[in-house]
């Protein structure tokens, strides 16, 4: 497999976990883990065509760019959605219940997770610090696979919620697609397609059988 394909595939997988793990990271369960790729991360392969001199990590703005992307998605797409926001109730509680990460810590973890998948960072790395999260000022980032298992068992995610969530991610990524993605903030259609395949491929492992096939706002 071409190196750029591998990178893009890993990136797609990482963002899948980023997107889907956003909800499960704060699940009822106390799942903890270490491996960013876990056992459920598949590569998708087809990405990379058209990408030029800058690596995907660089085009995504590196650590700060990834964190900014995650922060923007969470704040302007998830927290504004009447259904999806309810998965983040702990992050908007005062104080945040013990053991739960703040939004800032989630952003750090996800940014680091994607960076690690691209070989540019390490995961889980040092605990993510946020002094404002008084009950958990130091949060150890969790394995996305473990978090997904927690999600499927406790968050009772239905296919409708899953579809809406990945739709929100897709609507954030699609404007980045350019015919020849060579600059910061750009991805190729092939990279988008690889991400899309990886995202939708996680449906069975994230959703719960018997959960609402339409929307299943938390708690379903």
């Amino acid at each position: 497999m071409h190196r750029s394909s591998i990178r893009a595939g890993k990136w797609g997988t990482a963002v899948v976990a980023l997107a889907l793990g956003a909800t499960s990271l704060i699940a009822c369960g106390s799942d903890k883990g270490a491996s960013p790729m876990g056992g459920g991360a598949g590569t998708t392969g087809a990405a990379g065509a058209g990408a030029a001199t800058l690596s995907l990590y660089e085009r995504l703005g590196g650590k700060s760019g990834l964190e900014a992307f995650v922060k923007d998605v969470v704040e302007t797409k998830i927290l504004t959605d009447a259904d999806l926001k309810t998965f983040f109730f702990n992050q908007v509680a005062t104080p945040i219940p013990a053991g739960h990460p703040s939004a800032t810590q989630i952003v750090v973890c996800f940014g680091r997770f994607v960076g690690a998948a691209l070989g540019a960072d390490s995961y889980p790395g040092a605990p993510a610090a946020d002094a404002a999260n008084t009950n958990t000022p130091s949060f150890t980032c969790r394995s996305m696979v473990e978090a997904h298992q927690g999600a499927s068992s406790m968050l009772h995610i239905g296919s409708g919620t899953f579809d809406k969530f990945v739709g929100a991610i897709a609507s954030s990524l699609m404007p980045l697609v350019k015919p020849t993605a060579t600059q910061a903030g750009e991805i190729t259609q092939a990279e988008f397609d690889a991400l899309a395949a990886a995202l939708t491929g996680q449906k069975a492992s994230v959703t719960t059988a018997g959960a609402s096939a339409t929307l299943g706002p938390f708690p379903n």
């Binding site: 009822c28 504004t80 009447a82 309810t86 908007v92 939004a103 609507s171 699609m174 899309a196 379903n220």
Partner: protein
């Protein structure tokens, strides 16, 4: 006396331990059917959001939208509702008038979901078709802050037509979108999973979003969102 105290103490301790154990057991996946039967949900009942938390989430999102925008909206279209003015009683009256059922989401009266809404009930053109559902969010002080609609299971052709009409109407009132991705065409939406068309009109006090996303195997989902960013 000491014996009695010891018995009471042991009883309290035993009861506390038993209760703790029961709560722990109810958090196991195998207990999901029990939770569902008792609480109507398989999720820990103490993890429900409160109106204050819902408000806080909206405030965070609204602040981020305001910070990224440059000017107030020339109009704040919201399917006939008035952002920051319409109240629950207005929604109830509208629903009763049109024979539409709206229900609180997860018991939270500030989040209302209305099912099977005909386009005519919203005064919009018939070519955009009925809504599978419409969700409205109210602040804990009572004012409407968000209206969202979903149409699902559409063909790429239907979705392209619907999204195109919706965005055309939005652009007429709001101007060109601040963010645009994909194209409102059947060919683009039919490309594959998550093929998306999205247009975002973002202002310091308002955001309108029109999107269409291919979600195999169920079809294409068209979503409208009209949100107050005040």
């Amino acid at each position: 006396m000491k014996t009695r105290r010891a018995k009471v103490g042991a009883g309290v301790l035993g009861g506390a331990l038993a209760l703790t154990g029961l709560i722990g057991l109810l958090h196991l996946p195998a207990a999901a059917p029990v939770l569902r039967a008792v609480f109507g949900s398989a999720v820990c009942p103490v993890m429900r959001g409160t109106p204050a938390q819902i408000d806080r989430a909206h405030a965070i999102g609204a602040a981020a939208i305001r910070a990224a925008a440059a000017a107030p909206a020339p109009a704040r279209f919201a399917l006939g509702f008035r952002l920051d003015e319409t109240r629950r009683s207005d929604l109830d009256a509208w629903a009763a008038h049109h024979g539409i059922t709206c229900r609180a989401i997860t018991g939270n009266d500030n989040l209302q979901r209305c099912a099977d809404v005909p386009a005519a009930a919203l005064g919009v053109a018939g070519e955009v078709g009925p809504l599978e559902e419409m969700t409205l969010e109210f602040k804990s002080t009572g004012e409407l802050v968000n209206v969202e609609t979903l149409r699902r299971r559409l063909t790429p052709e239907e979705a392209a037509s619907t999204a195109g009409h919706l965005e055309h109407a939005a652009a007429e009132a709001l101007g060109a979108p601040a963010t645009l991705g994909g194209a409102p065409t059947a060919a683009h939406l039919a490309r594959g999973a998550l093929s998306t068309y999205v247009a975002v009109h973002a202002f310091t006090d308002y955001r309108a979003t029109i999107s269409a996303t291919n979600l195999p195997p169920t079809g294409v989902m068209v979503r409208e969102e009209y949100l107050s960013a005040r």
